[in-house]
C-alpha cells in the first residue's frame, strides 16, 4: 500500500479531535452527590450500558470518519501483487530506439535486445490485455496503438529498425504512452520503459506518472562500452588555393591502443585514408583536398568500427566562396554599357580584385531558362517583368533556398509582382513616380549611401511583418526591403540599379552596396541536419530532375512539386543533390549523429518517487489500485452510521 500524497497523512492528527471532544464532554458535566444513586444505577442499568456502547461506537465511528477522509485526501493505493499472467491490463511499452540503443553488445544491438524483451513481455500477457508500443527515438512514434491482438503485437517488434540514428525523445514518448494508457478502459495500467538510460535520454527530467499507472524499467546497456566518434572537423584553406583544402579531424571517445584510420569519400568513392594519431582525448587526423575540387561535401569515416558504428561517420560541407549570380536584364540594349545590368556587371567584376568571388551570368528576360535559375545562388531581376510561366519556378526556387533581388525601373509592372509573387515579396510596389526634388539614401550599415541622389522611385508599401528595411529614402520611405521566404531570401529596391533614376551607380559606395547585398542574399546555412530532420529542396519538374544521393549511395528522386520537404535523412553523413545529373552544390547538406548519443554509459533507471520505486522489470510485481473511491464509500457509510447512532442516543 502506498500514498500519492503522503504528506496529507499528517491530517490523521485530526482523529484526536472527536476523542478530545468526547473526553471534554465527559468532564464538563457538573457533579452531584446523591445517596440514592443505587436507584439511578438500577433504572439506568440498561440505558447506561446502552449509552456507553452507543457513545463508544459514536467515538469510534467519528474517529474512523475523520481517518477515512484524511486517507482519501492522501490518495491511497493498493499494490496488488499479481503476475502478469493472471489479469488483463493495459500495457504501454516505450522502447528507446535512439542512436545509443544501436550499440552492439554480443552481436545484437540494444534495440534488438529490447525488442526481444518486449516480445517476451507481450507473450506473457493474458488474453484481453491491451498493448501500445511507442518508439522514443526522435521524433516519437506510436508503433502500436492500443491493440488487443497480442499475437500481432508480438510480431511488430521485428519491424523496428535495429540500427537507428535518431536522437532521444524519451520524455515525449512517455507522455504519449500515458495518454494512451489513460484512454484505456482497463483499470490496471502499466508503463514499461526499455532504454539504456544514458545521459542523452534525460530520463530524470521526464514527467513520470504519479497515480494510477505503475511504471517498470528495464535497463539495457553495454558493459564497458568501447565507442569513439568523429568529434569535430575543421576546414582550412581555399578550394582554389595552390595547396587545396585541409581537414583537421578530432576523434573523441574511449581510448584505444588499436590502430585507427580515417577514410574520406568523395562522390561515394573512397579517395583517401590516413592513420589517427592518438592524443590525450582521443586522437587527431588530417586530410587534404586537391585544388580545384568541385565537391561541395565529402564524407569521413573512422575505422575500424566500434560498438556504435553510426557515429564514426561524418559529412563535411566544404562550402564555396563563389556566389553564382544570375542577372536578368529587363531592359536589354545592344550596347552593353547601356544595359540595365551594366553597372551590376561592373561592380561584380571589381569583386575579384577585393578578394570576393562571384560567378556572373547575364540573361535577357526572354532568354531565361529553368536550369539557369536553379543553379544560381542569387537571381537579380533588374527592371524586369517576367513572363507568368517563370513565376511558379521562382517561388519554388526561393522556397528551396535561392535568393531573389528585384530592382525597380520603368519596365516593372507593380500589378504583376503584387498578384503572383505577393506572398514571396517583403512588400508591394506601388505606382512609379518621379520626384521634384532629389532624395538621398540612408543606411546604418552603409552611411556612404547618403551621397547618392534619387530622382525617381517605385515606392514599396505594405511591408510584411518580418521585413527589414536596410535602406531608406530621406523622406523616411523604404528604399531597400528584405525578408526571408522559407529557405530563401528576397530583397526589393525601390529605385533603379542603373543610372536611370539615381546617381547611385556613380557613387563609390555602389560596389560595396551591391557586393554586400549579394553576399547577404547568398548566405547559406552551414548547420548540419539532425537525423530524420527536414530539408527543404526544390522538387523535380518536367525539364529538371532533382535527385538526392544519400551517404550510402542511395539515390532518391524528388517528386514533381514546387518544393519538397525532404525527410529521408536517416543516414548519417553527406547528402549530395543532383540537378539534372550535375552536382547542385548549393543544396548539399550533411546529417550529423545526434549530440549526446555517443555516450553509452548508462545512468540507470530514474528514481520515480511519486508512487512506487523504480524497479527492474518484474513480472510478478504488483499493480497500483486506487483505494480512494472505496474509502470515500466507507466515509459515507460511517457518516450515515454516525447520524443513526446520534438518533439512537437521543432516544
Amino acid at each position: 500500500m502506498g500514498f500519492g500524497l503522503p504528506w496529507a497523512l499528517a491530517g490523521l492528527i485530526a482523529v484526536g479531535i472527536p476523542i478530545l471532544a468526547h473526553l471534554l464532554r465527559r468532564q464538563k458535566l457538573p457533579k452531584q452527590t446523591l445517596p440514592t444513586i443505587a436507584f439511578l444505577h438500577r433504572i439506568q442499568a440498561t440505558r447506561a450500558a446502552r449509552l456507553r456502547v452507543v457513545d463508544m461506537l459514536l467515538l469510534f465511528v467519528r474517529a474512523l470518519l475523520v481517518a477515512a477522509l484524511v486517507l482519501v485526501a492522501a490518495a491511497p493505493y493498493r499494490v496488488v501483487r499479481s503476475s502478469l499472467l493472471d489479469r488483463q491490463h493495459a500495457l504501454a511499452i516505450v522502447l528507446d530506439d535512439s542512436l545509443s540503443m544501436a550499440a552492439i553488445y554480443q552481436g545484437k544491438t540494444l534495440i534488438e535486445r529490447a525488442a526481444l524483451s518486449a516480445t517476451e513481455q507481450v507473450r506473457k500477457l493474458p488474453e484481453g490485455s491491451e498493448v501500445s508500443v511507442i518508439l522514443s527515438g526522435r521524433s516519437p512514434r506510436v508503433w502500436v496503438r492500443r491493440r488487443s491482438d497480442l499475437e500481432m503485437v508480438g510480431t511488430v517488434f521485428g519491424d523496428i529498425g535495429l540500427r537507428s540514428t535518431r536522437g532521444d525523445a524519451l520524455c515525449d514518448a512517455v507522455q504519449t504512452a500515458m495518454e494512451l494508457l489513460l484512454e484505456s478502459e482497463l483499470a490496471d495500467r502499466r508503463l514499461l520503459v526499455l532504454s539504456d538510460f544514458t545521459e542523452g535520454t534525460h530520463a530524470e527530467s521526464c514527467e513520470w506518472p504519479s497515480r494510477g499507472i505503475r511504471v517498470a524499467f528495464e535497463t539495457l546497456s553495454t558493459p564497458n562500452p568501447d565507442n569513439r566518434r568523429i568529434a569535430s572537423v575543421e576546414v582550412n584553406g581555399e578550394r582554389d588555393a595552390p595547396d587545396g583544402m585541409r581537414l583537421v579531424v578530432q576523434i573523441a571517445g574511449t581510448p584505444t591502443q588499436s590502430p585507427q584510420e580515417l577514410r574520406m569519400r568523395q562522390k561515394g568513392q573512397e579517395t583517401q585514408k590516413t592513420p589517427v594519431q592518438r592524443g590525450g582525448n582521443g586522437g587527431e587526423a588530417s586530410l587534404s583536398i586537391a585544388p580545384g575540387s568541385t565537391d561541395a561535401v565529402v564524407e569521413l569515416q573512422l575505422y575500424p568500427d566500434d560498438v556504435l558504428p553510426a557515429d564514426n561517420v561524418r559529412g563535411v560541407l566544404l562550402g564555396s566562396d563563389t556566389v553564382h549570380v544570375l542577372l536578368v536584364d529587363g531592359d536589354p540594349h545592344p550596347d552593353p554599357r547601356k544595359r540595365e545590368t551594366a553597372f551590376l556587371n561592373h561592380a561584380l567584376g571589381v569583386a575579384s580584385r577585393i578578394g570576393r568571388s562571384f560567378s556572373v551570368e547575364t540573361l535577357d528576360a526572354e532568354d531565361l531558362s529553368e536550369n539557369a535559375i536553379i543553379r544560381s545562388d542569387v537571381l537579380v531581376l533588374a527592371n524586369a517583368t517576367l513572363d507568368q510561366k517563370w513565376l511558379p519556378l521562382i517561388q519554388r526556387y526561393v522556397g528551396g533556398g535561392g535568393s531573389l533581388w528585384i530592382t525597380a525601373g520603368d519596365r516593372v509592372n507593380p500589378r504583376a509582382y503584387g498578384s503572383v509573387l505577393r506572398e514571396l515579396l517583403p512588400g508591394r510596389y506601388t505606382a512609379t513616380r518621379m520626384e521634384a526634388r532629389s532624395l538621398s539614401l540612408q543606411s546604418k550599415t552603409l552611411p556612404e549611401l547618403a551621397q547618392a541622389k534619387v530622382r525617381g522611385r517605385t515606392p514599396i508599401a505594405e511591408a510584411s511583418l518580418d521585413a527589414v528595411v536596410t535602406a531608406r529614402f530621406s523622406d523616411g520611405a523604404a528604399a531597400m526591403l528584405e525578408h526571408r521566404y522559407r529557405s530563401g531570401r528576397v530583397a526589393m529596391l525601390a529605385t533603379t540599379i542603373d543610372d536611370a533614376w539615381t546617381d547611385l551607380p556613380y557613387q563609390p559606395v555602389f560596389v560595396p552596396f551591391v557586393l554586400d547585398t549579394l553576399r547577404r542574399l547568398a548566405g547559406r546555412s552551414e548547420h548540419s541536419v539532425e537525423p530524420y530532420g527536414t530539408v527543404s529542396l526544390p522538387g523535380s519538374t518536367q525539364s529538371q530532375r532533382i535527385q538526392v544521393v544519400t551517404p550510402t549511395g542511395r539515390t532518391v528522386d524528388l517528386a514533381e512539386a514546387d518544393r519538397v520537404a525532404f525527410r529521408d535523412t536517416g543516414e548519417i553523413g553527406a547528402y549530395r543533390v543532383l540537378v539534372n545529373g550535375v552536382n547542385g552544390a548549393r543544396f548539399a547538406f550533411v546529417v550529423d549523429a545526434p549530440p549526446g548519443e555517443s555516450d553509452l554509459v548508462s545512468k540507470g533507471a530514474p528514481d520515480v518517487e511519486s508512487s512506487f520505486e523504480a524497479v527492474e522489470l518484474d513480472t510478478s510485481s504488483g499493480v497500483e489500485q486506487p483505494l480512494g473511491p472505496w474509502l470515500l464509500l466507507l466515509a459515507m457509510v460511517l457518516l450515515f452510521g454516525e447520524l443513526g447512532l446520534r438518533q439512537i442516543r437521543r432516544r
Binding site: 465527559r26 458535566l29 457538573p30 457533579k31 452531584q32 452527590t33 446523591l34 445517596p35 440514592t36 444513586i37 443505587a38 436507584f39 439511578l40 444505577h41 438500577r42 433504572i43 439506568q44 440505558r47 447506561a48
Partner: protein, 291 residues
C-alpha cells in the same frame, strides 16, 4: 481529664436541645403503663389464688367476705427503657438543603429522648452504620440526657456503609427486653433481608418505631440538567439526564419506600416517613397521635 466543649459542638448541641424541647412543647405528655402487674396504687382485678402465687398478695378482706382466697391485682407504673438507634452511615450526612438527614434524625431522636426523660424513663442510644459505633446505656435523669444529646449532636464519624441487618441484630442485644426501640435511618441497605431483625426486636416484646429519614431530593430527583452523579458509600458514578430518568426514578423510590413500610408493618412495628423538609414536631405529633 478536663472535658472542654468545643464551640461547634456547643452550637450544634444547643440547637439540637432547643429543637427537641420545642418539638415536645405543646405535645401531650404520653404516659406508659407498665406491662408488669404487681404492687401498685392502681387496682386492676381480683382473681382466684393459685398455688405458687405470692401469699402476700392475698386479699384478706375479700377472703373474709367470700371465704375464698383471692389475689388482688394492681397495675403498677414502671420506668420505660427507650432505645434510640441512629444511622450514622455517610448517606445520612447528606442533605439537599440546610438540614442533613442525620441532623433531622438526631433532632427527632433528641426530642423523643427529652420526652422520655421528662417522664422519668431510661433512655439508651446506639449509633450504627455497618456495625454498632456508639453505645450509651439506658439511664434517666438530666445528666444522662445531656450526655445523650451531646452524642446525638456529634456522633462518631463513619466511613462505613449502611448494614442494617447486622447492626439491628446487635441492637437486639443492646435493647434488652420489652422496651421502646426507635430506629432513625434512611434504610439505604437494599439487601432483601435488611429489615428482618425488626421482627425479632418485636418478638422480644419491644415496641419498635422506624423513622425512615429521607431528603426530598432523594424522593423527587428535582435536578434539571444532565449531571455526573456520585454516591456516598462507594457506588460507581453515573451520568444521568434527570429529565429523562425522573419518572422511573420516582417509581423506583416509591417502590422502595413502600417496600420498607410493608416490611416494617409486617414485622409488627410502626413506620413513619420522616422527610427532612417536614418540621420535626409534625413528625413527632403524628407519632404520638397514632401511638
Amino acid at each position: 481529664m478536663t472535658h472542654v466543649l468545643e464551640p461547634e459542638l456547643a452550637v450544634r448541641l444547643a440547637g439540637l436541645t432547643l429543637r427537641a424541647k420545642r418539638t415536645v412543647d405543646g405535645l401531650l405528655a404520653g404516659m406508659h403503663r407498665s406491662p408488669h402487674r404487681g404492687a401498685s396504687a392502681i387496682f386492676k382485678e381480683h382473681r382466684a389464688y393459685r398455688p405458687g402465687d405470692d401469699p402476700r398478695l392475698i386479699d384478706w378482706r375479700a377472703y373474709a367476705r367470700s371465704d375464698r382466697y383471692t389475689i388482688k391485682h394492681f397495675e403498677h407504673e414502671t420506668q420505660l427503657r427507650g432505645t434510640l438507634a441512629l444511622d450514622i452511615s455517610p448517606s445520612m450526612h447528606w442533605g439537599s438543603g440546610d438540614v442533613s438527614k442525620i441532623d433531622h434524625a438526631a433532632t427527632l431522636l433528641a426530642a423523643i429522648a427529652y420526652l422520655l426523660t421528662r417522664q422519668g424513663d431510661a433512655v439508651s442510644l446506639v449509633t450504627f452504620d455497618e456495625e454498632i459505633r456508639d453505645r450509651l446505656p439506658a439511664r434517666s435523669g438530666p445528666a444522662h440526657l445531656d450526655y445523650l444529646m451531646r452524642t446525638l449532636a456529634e456522633p462518631t464519624r463513619s466511613n462505613g456503609q449502611t448494614a442494617l441487618h447486622a447492626s439491628l441484630d446487635k441492637l437486639i442485644e443492646h435493647a434488652g427486653r420489652m422496651g421502646l426501640v426507635v430506629i432513625a435511618s434512611d434504610l439505604l441497605d437494599l439487601e432483601g433481608e435488611a429489615l428482618n431483625p425488626i421482627a425479632r426486636i418485636q418478638a422480644r416484646g419491644h415496641q419498635t418505631i422506624v423513622l425512615h429519614v429521607m431528603d426530598p431530593a432523594e424522593l423527587e430527583l428535582p435536578y434539571e440538567r444532565p449531571l455526573h452523579f456520585e454516591g456516598l458509600e462507594g457506588e460507581s458514578p453515573v451520568e444521568v439526564d434527570p429529565k429523562g430518568a425522573r419518572r422511573r426514578y420516582r417509581d423506583a423510590i416509591d417502590a422502595f419506600v413502600g417496600s420498607c413500610q410493608r416490611r416494617v408493618v409486617a414485622a409488627g412495628a410502626r413506620y413513619l416517613l420522616a422527610r427532612t423538609d417536614t418540621p420535626p414536631e409534625h413528625t413527632l405529633l403524628q407519632l404520638l397521635r397514632e401511638g
